[in-house]
Symmetry: C2
Subunit: 761 residues, 2 copies
């Protein structure tokens, strides 16, 4: 793996002791050219870079600052005592007030003062600050100190600051409020919340007892010596803290996470998978997290290993800390980095991304990017766009196979007529001819295309390649006539959600070309949904120009920073369906439809659909949208699928379609073990087709007495027969949404169609 395709960036963090030692042993640079050794920080940062770290993390402040702050802000808070005591307190309070009025550092209270020292440096904010202390004054003064530190870091042009973790669930809203205020007051800088993945107290790197122990009446960090494994609850609780912080900060894109992996992780991803949907920018890995392998070299525990491998997809900055203190007997400092590079190389996501021919490789650069939908009917596509899709190695192979099978199984006949409806630059015509050749059946191909530019390419290919076995017809399949009816109608009008590029409506028009006993390839397709969480996509949706409209249309997206919230089955009485659920189906030719004299449907009512799906949500999460997929049966056993659980069986490595993303305007919190009901409609009027979608969350409630209050009755019955007597309605989001106002006309020629983008364009 060469440098440019690395997924992880390595950083190392310095301790206060290392900085002190560097200062104490600092000798002025040997020559005036050694600019980068002029100060202790420059020297040790330079040394770290020469050992392969791309970034360094430096504590912004020194112990002197902590002493002064505690002296002012804790002593003043103490109060009481004798007269002398009292005078000292008043003096401390006076100093504190003067500081609050105009917060500033003394030189020896900060570690850096030069721009070159701060370059490429991540600042570690004082980790003893308690923005969520129980004590009002400690909270208040911690916030002033935090702003002071961030303002100083900003002065030094530092781009990223890592903030101390929230510690108290009860006061996390105060923590969150302070962070939000900082995001507003400090421009540009990324604020990254350091968050121990569970059990926060265990991970304090500060060896000195922290100020809170002086002031709090309650031991703030009640560290029980626990069993090693994190219970799921604790992992959930960590995420819940984060969820509150980022909600209060309104999903500010400058707010990121530094996941502190000090405690060992469980070996199954389960609840951990939700971190894939969060902006984890840094992973903090102290030497103490590593265990020694049989040879004494440092390796990570199994659960942490697989989590780090998985995280590579998000190209994290991995901060190695305390790696120069000789925690492990073998390998020295470089062993830790080498091990991380080993995990990177052996990460399945990295391997998939680097292997040619995979969707992951094909999609590089497109992850989580909201694509403007293609409109192949309204807009005439460019040749380059056709070319991109024609390169799909799987899609056309399956089409050929389907046509071949249909021909082979076709009853004896002198001449089988194939009609390609929407021929584009001709890939399906070519595949039809190959299938005819292989099947040795007598057949003739009509190719219908309405894009005048692509029609030139078709004429070219007919002359150069196809000859007399093919007849080209120029025009819209919904209005033209063809010389004779076909036995087999072949089309490729499918979108990421199946019907979302108006395949049903177009084929309604083309069915006039098909004999009564003819077949359509594809003969049916289904649309599928799963609920997802992704702060990334939520923010991308909001950043669209018109925020009120941006959440009202589905997008084509290659998912990465996304977590699917549902799990198979579950729920009370097992009424929840699988992780991904089918909404509806379309079949061609359609049965028993009433048509007008020209063979066209009178209205489009028969193409409306609706579905109500119930999902089991095992772990608490936030619903940001729905993932949409399709499956199609081309002919009997041959199909196409982007359904996450089926695609590898049906059409592995097919590249043409990324999933559809149906966004919600407002996030909806889903508790652990809740049920999510999703309603989705495919709607139509005389000009348009669009989707609307809606979600409700239900939490199973058990009959149990509620102590206290006048109201002892638990709501155990409901009107809803479906939900019988076991659930209560929990929360309703707002999004009922119209899609873009694209025009659609099933009877006249010039109409547009619904949003239809899919893969890369």
């Amino acid at each position: 793996m060469s440098g440019w395709d690395r997924f992880a960036t390595l950083a190392t963090s310095f301790t206060h002791d290392e900085l002190s030692y560097a200062s104490a042993t600092h000798a002025p640079a040997d020559s005036p050219k050694d600019k980068d050794k002029e100060t202790p920080i420059l020297r040790i940062a330079g040394e770290a870079r020469s050992r392969g770290y791309e970034l360094v993390c430096v504590p912004l402040t020194t112990a002197r600052w902590k002493e002064r702050w505690a002296d002012m802000c804790i002593l003043a808070g103490e109060g009481g005592g004798g007269e002398g005591e009292r005078e000292k307190t008043v003096e401390a309070e006076r100093r504190a007030e003067r500081w609050r009025m105009s917060p500033s550092f003394l030189r020896e209270e900060v570690t850096m003062s030069r721009l070159d020292e701060a370059e490429g440096t991540i600042a570690l904010i004082s980790d003893w600050l308690q923005l969520d202390a129980r004590d009002d004054w400690v909270r208040h003064d911690s916030e002033i100190a935090l702003r002071q530190e961030l303002a100083y870091a900003s002065y030094l042009n530092i781009h990223t600051a890592i903030l101390p973790p929230p510690r108290h669930r009860a006061h996390v809203t105060s923590y969150a409020r302070a962070i939000n205020a900082c995001l507003k007051s400090v421009p540009y800088m990324q604020l990254s919340i350091r968050l121990p993945i569970y059990d926060p107290p265990s991970t304090s790197t500060s060896s000195v007892s922290t100020p809170q122990l002086v002031v709090s009446d309650l031991p703030v960090l009640p560290r029980k010596s626990k069993a090693k494994k994190a219970p799921e609850d604790e992992l959930n609780a960590t995420w819940e803290m984060w969820d509150i912080v980022r909600s209060v900060c309104d999903y500010n894109p400058r707010l990121t996470l530094t996941l502190d992996l000090t405690p060992p992780l469980p070996t199954t991803l389960g609840v951990l998978s939700k971190w894939t949907a969060e902006p984890v920018q840094h992973i903090f890995l102290p030497a103490s997290t590593f265990i020694a392998n049989t040879k004494g070299y440092p390796v990570l525990p199994k659960g942490t290993q697989s989590f780090v491998r998985q995280s590579m997809a998000h190209r994290p900055i991995i901060i190695m800390s305390d790696v120069r203190s000789g925690t492990h007997s073998k390998g020295g400092e470089s062993a830790y980095s080498q091990y991380i590079r080993h995990l990177e190389k052996s990460s399945p996501v990295v391997q998939a991304a680097l292997k040619a021919g995979t969707v992951e490789n094909f999609a590089q650069g497109y992850q989580d990017y909201l694509q403007a939908p293609l409109q192949p009917l309204m807009d005439n596509l460019q040749s380059i766009t056709y070319q991109t899709f024609e390169r799909d190695p799987v899609k056309y192979r399956n089409y050929e196979e389907a046509i071949y099978n249909a021909l082979v199984e076709w009853p004896a006949s002198d001449r089988i007529v194939i009609c390609v409806a929407g021929a584009g630059r001709g890939p399906l015509v070519a595949r039809s001819l190959l299938a005819i050749q292989r099947s040795r059946r007598p057949a003739f191909v009509y190719a219908v295309e309405k894009n005048p530019n692509a029609f030139v390419t078709l004429q070219n290919r007919q002359e150069m390649e196809w000859g007399s076995g093919v007849q080209l017809i120029y025009g819209d399949m919904r209005s033209i006539e063809i010389p004779e009816q076909a036995d087999i109608l072949v089309s490729e009008l499918l979108g990421s959600f199946g019907d979302n590029e108006l395949s049903p409506e177009c084929l309604d028009g083309a069915m006039r070309f098909l004999k009564a006993d003819g077949i359509s390839i594809p003969c049916s397709y289904t649309a599928h949904l799963a609920p997802l969480q992704s702060s990334k996509l939520f923010n991308e949706t909001r950043m669209n120009k018109d925020p009120s409209k941006s959440a009202e249309t589905p997008y084509v997206v290659m998912f990465q920073n996304v977590d699917i919230l549902s799990a198979d089955g579950g729920g009370l009485g097992g009424r929840c369906g699988p992780q991904t659920q089918e909404c509806w189906e379309f079949e061609h030719p359609r049965k028993d439809g009433v048509v007008d004299d020209r063979g066209l449907p009178i209205t489009n009512s028969h193409n409306t659909r609706s579905a109500k799906l119930t999902f089991h949500i095992p772990h608490a999460g936030v619903l940001h949208g729905l993932a949409g997929y399709f499956e199609a049966v081309l002919y009997k056993g041959v199909g196409l699928s982007i359904h996450p659980q089926h695609k590898d069986r049906v059409s592995k490595d097919m590249l043409s379609w990324f999933p559809l993303f149906f966004p919600f305007k407002d996030p909806l919190y889903l508790p652990s073990n809740s049920e999510l009901q999703v309603s989705i409609w495919r709607l139509t009027n005389e000009r348009q087709v669009w989707y609307e979608w809606y979600a409700e969350s239900f939490l199973p409630v058990f009959s149990a007495p509620l102590p206290g209050g006048e109201d002892h009755k638990t709501p155990t019955s409901s009107h809803d027969p479906f939900f019988a007597s076991t659930t209560t309605h929990v929360a309703v989001p707002s999004p009922l949404i119209d899609a873009v106002d694209s025009s659609f006309s099933p009877v006249s020629g010039g109409g547009g169609r619904e949003e239809g983008g899919r893969g890369c364009s």
Copy 2:
């Protein structure tokens, strides 16, 4: 009670039978002048008006329309059968398709066709339409029919249409989606959802069996013959249906409710009180709801009586139906209306509103109106504004009492010095003089005022009324000096939330005038909160010009269309506080504060506050904001209070302050028996003071096995010691909010202050 101050508007609805009878017996108008008798509808509407009804409700369509619709849309849906049967089905389907393409009525399918017939008429949409049928086609065609009916009503210039109720909890999202589409397609018209207050099936007025019974596989309206009383669950379920409909319709202000009170109501309001927060425009009361009193006259059951009395506050339209069929033996048709007028007259809210001197009377016209806050420090108030507040009969009486008590209890002294800080046009100066007179203590009054215009009035009053016992001082209390320090400092700087007009900051400046052992009137004040629901206030907040800003500032509001969601105590372990809870307190003079040479605080840090409150929510509801109140101790037992549970004891009929309303940007659904945690902060920097607030909902979770799914563990433990092992986090709203950017400067003279409006201005 004269006509103009009536609270209820009476309407009557006609049945199909009455309309048929009117048509059958219709004789052309006697003379050309009898324009209003030209058609049967005009005649019976005219007769109804002459009997005292201000409005009439008329079914928009006839039985003919229902027949045709069922013939097309139900027959076509049936399918199957023999060849002849099949042909009939195809023919029906063809007719249905032609109708769907271009929906229209035949003359005999509608009841009205002239503008004058529709004038003052509320249209009843076909009540057999099933927008939430199980059957896709019935739903689809019901929606087309609904749009057709609304379009026709709109053509006739009808302003209000009453829609059939949702019937299926499982498909209410489909119902809601259809209503939302209608709101968008029909401009101006009010759509009012008819909603039986519980158990929808019992209230169908249509005597013919409805189409759904033909198509649904499941009996849609399983009417059990129940005990008379509605269980709370059913009342909650009705509200839940409504909540989904209006949420999907995004709180469209043209969407209202027609509460159908056919079933008898429980006698305690309890869960019914939530309807006070909803846009109940009509109350539907059929004769069958009335019971006969001992004399045989119609009266309402107790529960319904008190609900109707309570509803008068919202000035409902009461629709009397079936009142001409002789249901009751005595009184005839007029007995029903007379009874409603009797309830109106005896309604406590009507009585309070009509009685001079009550807050309700004073506030007429101001209910639920978001007031632009007063800025008495930044803006110099107008004389008329002072006059309004000076008329408060209670506030100044209590001030005088407090000053009197303070004087009487004052230690022996030659001369007691009173300083009125912020004298305005002089009401507190006058009251001080009265108190001095009554107490017979030797005292002198300084009156400080910074409004140059009011200072002219003060000079006038000194010359005309006060004489030498008063010395006027012009200037800002935060910067001027006065000749001698005072024993008693009197001020009236309180806002609706106590400290929200910056009383703490102003008094910090004025404390320089007070002797070390002096007292301040008021000597302390507290701020209080309660969570509230109100679609009205939610919409009012959103309608402000800049929607992103409009939810970020508190407003002064006289609440009416509002329901307080909390109840006293309750919760697991009784950890929830009372319905209204105290946030924080300010005391004057402040103790042990560090000040600078001039006696002013160095920073404003000591005036920051924060509170975390836990409320018990007995019935499901939607949180739209917080109600803010204050209480003040003027001197010992004398105070001022707008706290809803205390105000009548402390300062009954005080008019000067309406409550403060802290809005939330996004509604938060609160389940029954949940707990609401509210965080609120009073924050400050060198220029400003503002509030931020945040709410989280928790639902108690019991340990019980969860059947099904891989995940059998109920989350029973949490990190949070406060919430111990019994709750799970349910939902997080977004609102963390800065108040308006008003400038505040505690040390210099020219600063502005925070929003400070309160009562009428």
